[in-house]
């Protein structure tokens, strides 16, 4: 389809992106070797002594590592499921709003938080979730004792999950709204002629029409199951909620960068990379199997 110079131009177009990918993803991958060394920055990659699988074995023996892995999977999976569910429900409901202006306005308001960084949102959350903050004041009216949202290991993951759902569902819903507008209106007309109620139209026309998109998004997100959201948790957690809120990324950051245990940090990071690679394979397979999704 593309010939000679044409193709060259396209390559040129993707080149900057490829270079960045190479520099920030593939080159660092080579440094995963640190996981098999007793790394000393002064000796560098060449000079540091090799220790085989010691770091990885040590990591698997660590109570922390297992706990951190469990936290990561739990938080990331709950986020995925709830964001998906909320976004689909929201899209279906918004699709029923007749006035285009109202629809647009709601949609904009709802996806706005997606563009705020967690540094800012965490500050806001800390304030409204404080003991004398908005949420506890409201609960107080109903006679509920103040809840220590950011300081209770049992509550903390849910603060993380629900605030992420609030931040992201609006943006995620855009995909479903787009799919919904693509539905042939005659299908609705036919359903009406058959006497379908609004709920039934939603159930038997809208939902099946966007089902492939739901399956696709769901499958593709499997690859993210070890990404529980570093910047969100990093800005909200504290030692008291390590037991339920510490995730792989925050753990690697503390161990590797703050406390200078480069080898252990890299070992945990490498473990994450390997598992993520497997998961992405599964998600691609599932996406092509159930949603007919192909990259190549």
């Amino acid at each position: 389809m593309f010939k000679g110079t044409d193709r060259f131009a396209y390559w040129l177009m993707v080149l900057p992106g490829l270079l960045l990918l190479l520099a920030f993803t593939f080159v660092p991958l080579a440094y995963s070797a640190i996981a098999f060394q007793k790394f000393n920055p002064a000796l560098g990659l060449q000079g540091s002594p090799w220790v085989g699988l010691d770091n990885l074995l040590y990591m698997f023996g660590l109570r922390d590592a297992r706990q951190v892995l469990a936290n990561t999977v739990f938080i990331a999976a709950m986020k995925m499921i709830l964001v998906l569910f909320t976004a689909v429900s929201f899209a279906l409901l918004l699709n029923e709003v007749r006035f285009l202006g109202v629809r647009r306005a709601i949609q904009t308001m709802v996806y706005l938080p997606h563009f705020l960084s967690w540094v800012i949102l965490a500050g806001i959350l800390r304030t409204i979730l404080a003991r004398d903050g908005l949420v506890n004041d409201l609960l107080g009216y109903f006679g509920v004792a103040p809840i220590y949202f950011l300081g209770q290991p049992a509550v903390f993951p849910w603060v993380i999950i629900l605030s992420d759902v609030w931040k992201e569902f609006g943006f995620e819903a855009i995909v479903y709204l787009a799919a919904l507008t693509g539905i042939d209106p005659t299908l609705y007309e036919v359903a009406e002629l058959d006497g379908a109620t609004r709920l039934q139209k939603m159930r038997y026309v809208s939902l099946p029409a966007i089902a492939p998109v739901i399956v696709l998004v769901g499958c593709l997100s499997i690859g993210n199951v070890l990404n529980a959201g570093f910047d969100q948790i990093f800005n909200l957690y504290s030692p008291i909620v390590y037991s339920s809120g510490d995730i792989l990324d925050t753990y690697v950051y503390r161990i590797g960068l703050i406390q200078g245990q480069y080898s252990l940090g890299t070992a945990v990071g490498l473990f994450k990379t390997v598992v993520a690679l497997g998961l992405i394979g599964i998600s691609y397979w599932a996406a092509s199997r159930y949603a007919n999704y192909r990259i190549f």
Binding site: N40, P41, A42, L43, G44, G47, Y58, L62, R63, D64, R126, A130, R131, P146, Y148, L150, G151, Q152, P153, S238, P239, I240, V241, Y242, S243, R254, I255, L257, Q259, G260, Q261, S263, L264
Partner: protein, 553 residues
């Protein structure tokens, strides 16, 4: 933490030369660089000694630096790279100093690690214990033994000696002095209680001596509306997510631990010579039990466990608490802000005593950082000489000019190697001297310039208490708190051998995480106190026993 560190390092820089030391009498407070022309310099005999001898040919020296976030404090037309103090050093030693990079203080350590890993090592740099160890293992730094012997001036040598050899020992690896150690007296200051006297007076109470007193005061502050605004909006004791820690843990509960004879996070040596870890001792369990009871009773800020230092400072500054723990320099930060917002806020220091009625406080080491020289740099002695000159500039010794009236605020920016080799116990000594001057037994005109400025501020505050928060802070820290420390106390310090072992131990981060988590959970009641026993077991099993064995071998 690093910001905090820089802050009190800055405070300590005010420290004085001995009153007897000669002052450059005729020199005005602010000089231009023209005050040190070559002719004058050549006439000064001390310059000919090894400690200051200029290089025969101008050498270049590449340094790196943190502190960028404060660059705005520099005087008009000057910068970190170009200022009068720096130029004085360059001219005195005939060296051309350049900076490879300047970054904010928080990123200094990370950035330095990157530089080291990429082989782009600066000629001279400030490193921490872990980096010193790593550089030493890699053979990447010079042995400074001969250079320190030959070039360090008498002041620096005396200051190291006063640590009982601990400072130099901390920098010696395999018999070689691989780094120049800092000495920071009270860098690891004892944690004492600070209480609002105006609230105490209003409720008819006395300042605290014991943990029981602290509890009674906290209860009264919570229940009896000490600020008189009719609302139950005051907390008892403040706290932060770091319940214990040396050095200088603001809002830390260290004072309460120490009062129970518990010294968490300290590796101390007993009389038999064995090293123990304070966090796993039964006394620590007792103190944790007491703290849990205080928390349960609502006498500690209920949200302390998720507040960092800044957040807890807000509690104090906004007048919602009148009881916090911290070091002697607390009046500068954050208490001066409290006085600014409420001139009635009369904070007073009270050291707590243990069950035997004695003051015993946990202290860190004297030494936290080291100046090292890259292997192969042709003039390793420059590092020592620069530190000589910097020390003179700090205290006006050896005719060093005093360029800046606000030197204490900006010295970390001015100096190419922002590093202190201080006299230990200088805080107590200065406190006593101010006291003597007030009593008339010491002539205040013998004070050096920095001390004279402080002495004026102390007098102004004594004449009109708390009318100026800066004056109040100087008086309260330098005089009242310093004199309390001067009354004496037992020090429990981390052993220098241990201090070198634990930061490089691979199990240490996991052990620390375990401890942080368990302590906070026990205090807040998320776990029962008896979980302390399983914590100790787990600590031992996961590398603690091995770590202590390594230290005791």
């Amino acid at each position: 933490m690093r910001r905090l560190f820089v802050l009190f390092v800055t405070l300590l820089a005010v420290a004085a030369c001995l009153p007897a030391a000669p002052q450059p009498a005729a020199e005005p407070a602010v000089l231009s660089t023209a005050a040190t022309p070559q002719a004058v310099m050549a006439a000064q005999a001390w310059r000919q000694t090894d400690a200051y001898s200029p290089l025969p040919e101008t050498a270049s020296l590449v340094l790196v630096k943190g502190g960028q976030e404060n660059a705005g404090l520099m005087p008009e037309g000057e910068s970190i790279e170009e200022n009068r103090a720096l130029r004085y050093i360059e001219e005195t030693l005939n060296v051309d100093i350049r900076f490879g990079w300047v970054v904010p203080s928080d990123s200094y350590s990370d950035k330095l690690n990157l530089s080291i890993a990429s082989g782009d090592i600066p000629d001279v740099m400030i490193v921490d214990a872990l980096q010193l160890q790593q550089l030493a293992e890699a053979g990447a730094i010079e042995d400074l033994t001969p250079y320190v012997e030959q070039y360090a001036n008498a002041d620096l040598l005396a200051n190291w000696e006063q640590t009982g050899g601990v400072a130099l020992a901390a920098a010696t690896i395999d018999g070689k002095l691989l780094g120049i150690p800092n000495v920071q007296p009270q860098a690891d200051a004892p944690i004492i209680a600070w209480v609002r006297q105006d609230w105490l007076d209003k409720l008819g109470m006395q300042g605290p001596q014991t943990v029981d007193d602290v509890e009674a005061i906290a209860r009264a502050f919570v229940e009896q509306d000490p600020d008189g605004n009719g609302a139950a909006d005051t907390y008892g004791l403040t706290g932060t997510l770091n319940p214990v820690g040396v050095p200088s843990n603001l809002h830390g509960f260290d004072a309460i631990f120490n009062a129970y004879g518990a010294f968490p996070e300290i590796f101390y040596r007993d009389e038999a010579g064995q090293i123990h870890y304070g966090s796993v001792q039964p006394q620590t369990k007792e103190a944790l039990g007491r703290l849990a009871a205080l928390y349960q009773a609502g006498l500690i800020d209920p949200e302390f466990a998720t507040k960092d230092t800044d957040k807890s400072n807000e509690v104090v500054v906004s007048g919602r608490s009148g009881l916090m723990m911290g070091p002697w320099w607390l009046p500068w930060w954050p208490l001066a802000d409290s006085v600014s917002s409420d001139p009635n806020a009369d904070w007073q220091p009270y050291p707590l005593v243990d069950q035997a009625g004695e003051r015993s406080f946990a202290m860190g080491g004297y030494t936290y950082s080291f100046v090292v020289v890259k292997k192969g740099y042709p003039h390793p002695e420059l590092a020592v000489k620069i530190l000589n000159v910097q020390n003179d500039l700090s205290y006006g010794l050896n005719d060093a000019p005093q360029f800046y009236p606000n030197f204490n605020e900006i010295w970390t920016l001015l100096f190419p190697i922002p590093f202190l080799i201080e006299q230990p116990y200088v805080v107590e000594r200065m406190g006593r001297e101010y006291q003597q001057a007030l009593e008339g037994s010491l002539d205040p005109t013998t004070f050096n310039e920095a001390m004279q400025i402080e002495y004026d501020q102390i007098q102004q505050d004594l004449a009109a208490p708390r009318s100026n928060p800066s004056n109040w802070a100087v008086r309260m820290a330098r005089l009242d708190a310093a004199l309390l420390l001067a009354e004496g106390y037992n020090e429990v310090r981390t052993d220098p051998v241990a201090a070198r072992v634990f930061p490089t131990d691979p199990n240490w981060p996991a052990l620390q995480k375990l401890e942080d988590e368990v302590f906070l959970q026990i205090i807040t009641g998320a776990r029962p106190l008896d979980d302390f026993d399983s914590f100790v077991e787990e600590w031992n099993r996961n590398g603690g026993t091995d770590l202590l064995a390594k230290m005791n071998s």
